[in-house]
Amino acid sequence: MPIRLRVDGLAASRGEDPIFREVCLVLDAGGALLVTGRNGTGKSTFLRTLAGLHPADSGTILLEGVTDPTAPVRESLQYLGHRNAMKRDLTVAENLVFWARFSGQAGDPAKDGDAALEAVGLGGLGHLPFGYLSAGQQRRAALARLLVAHRPVWLMDEPTAALDTASERMVEALIARHRATGGIVIAATHQALDVPGAQTLTMSGFAVPT
């Protein structure tokens, strides 16, 4: 059964300031949503609210078509935040194997990790400590985490930060591949990402100081 993400009347605020109100959207399997808007309009907060990391004032987030409908939605999401969630002192491969195991991924995490690194253009660098990589390489290694710990919905906060043009194409290819296998991608970005057939949500930013 294909999945469907349904967000109804979602609202959240930071402190007293409302960030967004009454966000409604439906994303079918293979769908994508680009969240755009200027800095400080609440793109990250929107993603964090979806991920259950920021409390919603009101509204519902539902994921239909998963095996266990009672489980919190956040467990079906894979969140790539501003920060890469990797340890500098561990090697890239160790980091990936850890996340694969920790996320309860079946299969051989070491092999999956190698394949994922190949996919993000870091093949053969698995033995390097994560701290040795450049900023762009670190970002790509963090993207590899989405591949080793499979979740149907990807939440990506500025996935192309610190990446060069070639790597942006690579991210687009990753997104396309994930959608082709019935996944959903929600990406917040202020860069032009070529995601065909994506819905767009432009954050205007409520919190206008008086």
Binding site: A51, L53, P55, Y79, G81, N84, S103
Partner: protein, 219 residues
């Protein structure tokens, strides 16, 4: 879960890890005591168990503030909060790894320091046993403090201040059990059982409270 335990152990023992620092701090604190008290061996033997306990207490508080802060800084905490593994279990395993890397070594070097303080073999053994039973409680209580202070920019010192009053019972029963083993009239078992009970109690309460605090502090 084994993956998390092994990763935390690896991080603690690899370059930059805090495992060695805790032991060193423990040794330094205990070594400073004779300079304050004077090299009177009888007096040192008398205060020995208490000094070992206070040293171990301070040393195990040392690295606690980084328990969740390091995870938060690189964003790993966000991912951990979203897993289907209960957060309580994640916290508990992290505590366990932290104790294995920094609490257990303290227990293991305590007999050596006991010799320096001219303690008798029974006193040394009793202190080691009470430390073994009591230091996990310090880590578990400290995890609550670390979780509460996780979002603060300079939470390090605050964690110690928050946690110290809470670990006083552990100190009281640990030290009294250690003394009871040496001084005849007082029985060893009752305070030791209470100490173990405290540890078990906080093995349940600590991770649960820390999990609540972590969820709350993720904004």
């Amino acid at each position: 879960m084994m993956a998390l335990y092994l990763r935390d152990l690896k991080l603690a023992t690899r370059a930059g890890g805090g495992a060695l620092t805790g032991i060193l701090f423990f040794m330094a604190v205990v070594a400073v005591v004779p300079f304050g008290l004077g090299p009177d061996l009888k007096l040192l033997a008398q205060v020995g168990p208490a000094m070992l306990w206070i040293g171990a207490l301070l040393a195990s508080l040392l690295g606690l503030d980084r328990l969740f802060q390091a995870e938060r800084e690189d964003g790993a905490l966000d991912v951990m909060l979203m897993q289907e593994t209960p957060l309580v279990l994640t916290v508990f395993v992290k505590c366990l790894a932290h104790w294995t890397a920094s609490g257990l070594p303290l227990v293991l070097v305590s007999p050596l320091l006991g010799l320096f303080l001219n303690m008798e073999p029974t006193a040394i053994f009793a202190t080691m046993l009470t430390l073994l039973a009591g230091t996990p409680a310090i880590t578990l209580i400290g995890a609550m403090g670390a979780a509460v202070a996780v979002a603060l920019p300079r939470g390090g010192l605050l964690v110690s201040i928050l946690v110290l009053p809470l670990v006083i019972p552990v100190l009281i029963f640990g030290v009294s059990a250690a003394y009871a083993a040496v001084e005849d009239p007082a029985p060893f078992l009752p305070p030791f059982m209470i100490l173990t009970a405290i540890t078990l109690f906080f093995a349940v309460i600590g991770p649960a409270a820390a999990a609540v605090a972590l969820r709350a502090s993720s904004e």
